[in-house]
Homo-oligomer: 192 residues x 2
DNA sequence: TAGTGTAGAGAACGATCGTTCTCGATACTA
DNA sequence: TAGTATCGAGAACGATCGTTCTCTACACTA
């Protein structure tokens, strides 16, 4: 097992455990046990638990947004791409281990203690907003940024609702609301 | 200082600290130092930290919903009461110590470890949904429950967004989106 | 005033955590 | 084969946590 494989295995175990139980509820020894990498090697790859947490969130941010984008970008019709976001959410909510948004959860748990974690959560939501804006722009609505921000509210609300109520159907309500908002925004544009 | 005053002072200190820093980041000794009640008396009122956490969330649930309801119910026009919810959110977001929703935060931090905490978070969101449904019902929309659920998505999304971005204006976008949803829902009703 | 009970301050206890260190085994080099 | 470097297992360390206990001081009763 070379250095880079150890690195990946640690990060995989950390992601599973941190996401499932929360960061502070998981000790470094639990991560070592899950991935079979010794503590010595673990601390050669990650200088501290905080470092590992940061890398966990960074990689998850990348992967999460890429999965969403590659799903939505398959739709050829621009309007379909927005609703596809909520279809993707629904599939995510139905996954067995779904436990809400890693960034919302980590922010609530650690933002007061760790500015690095707070920054990553902000970055994640910012990038998501940027992507939504790009999705909305081709739709000829009046204020794409404002509409994208409203879509983001629906997305975060749906994630929170699905995780607390354990009901994936929050995605349906969010999708219906998004469609209402989009037709309202397109109507406002036409009225000019 | 009698028993009931000690109880209240402990609970006040616990709420301040838990909300500000998160539950696991606050030790019992920090609560004792903040409220000036000895550990012995503290453990006479609350048998364990978990007990204290549960009482903290219970009281906050009561107070939070009462504050919201007494604000919104002042409006005489039913349609105004819904938008008043978002005005109230905006005022809340602007308060100095605002750090998001105590229930979303606690759920993310503790739901995997403490079913009691998870239950309270669910109850809080359920009761809020019930209140929103009651607000929507007089508006002659087609499916009041579905609209209330969409409003709840906007509310939770706004709370998350305001806390992560540290920008209270998320309430404005949510309010605008809520108005769009309500007119769309009223329009659908009229179209029948 | 003597005796009883209660209170608070903080030490103590056992557990757990993040992190480092020790030690024995194993693999590679000359 | 002898010597060197590397590795994993897990003990060790210091800190912190939740919880309980000790001890002293003080208030109240007879």
């Amino acid at each position: 097992m070379d250095h880079s494989e150890a690195y990946t295995r640690v990060l995989n175990a950390a992601e599973e455990l941190f996401y499932e139980r929360g960061v502070q509820a998981v000790g470094m020894d639990a991560i070592r046990a899950r991935c079979g990498v010794s503590l010595k090697r673990l601390y050669q790859s990650f200088t501290s638990k905080e470092h590992l947490v940061v890398e966990y969130l960074r990689r998850r941010d990348q992967r999460w947004r890429e999965a969403l984008m590659s799903f939505a970008d398959q739709r050829s019709e621009p309007a379909d791409r927005v609703t596809a976001v909520f279809d993707w959410l629904h599939e995510w909510f139905r996954e067995p281990g779904f436990r809400g948004c890693a960034f919302i959860n980590s922010f609530g748990e650690l933002s007061a203690t760790s500015p690095a974690v707070a920054d990553i959560a902000r970055h994640h939501k910012d990038e998501l907003k940027r992507y939504l804006t790009a999705l909305v722009e081709p739709l000829a609505v009046d204020e794409p940024l404002a509409v994208a921000e409203q879509l983001l509210l629906l997305i975060d609300g749906a994630i929170v609702s699905a995780s607390i109520t354990q009901n994936p159907d929050a995605a349906h309500g969010a999708r219906a609301a998004a469609e209402s908002l989009l037709t309202a925004a397109a109507g406002a544009q036409r009225a000019h």
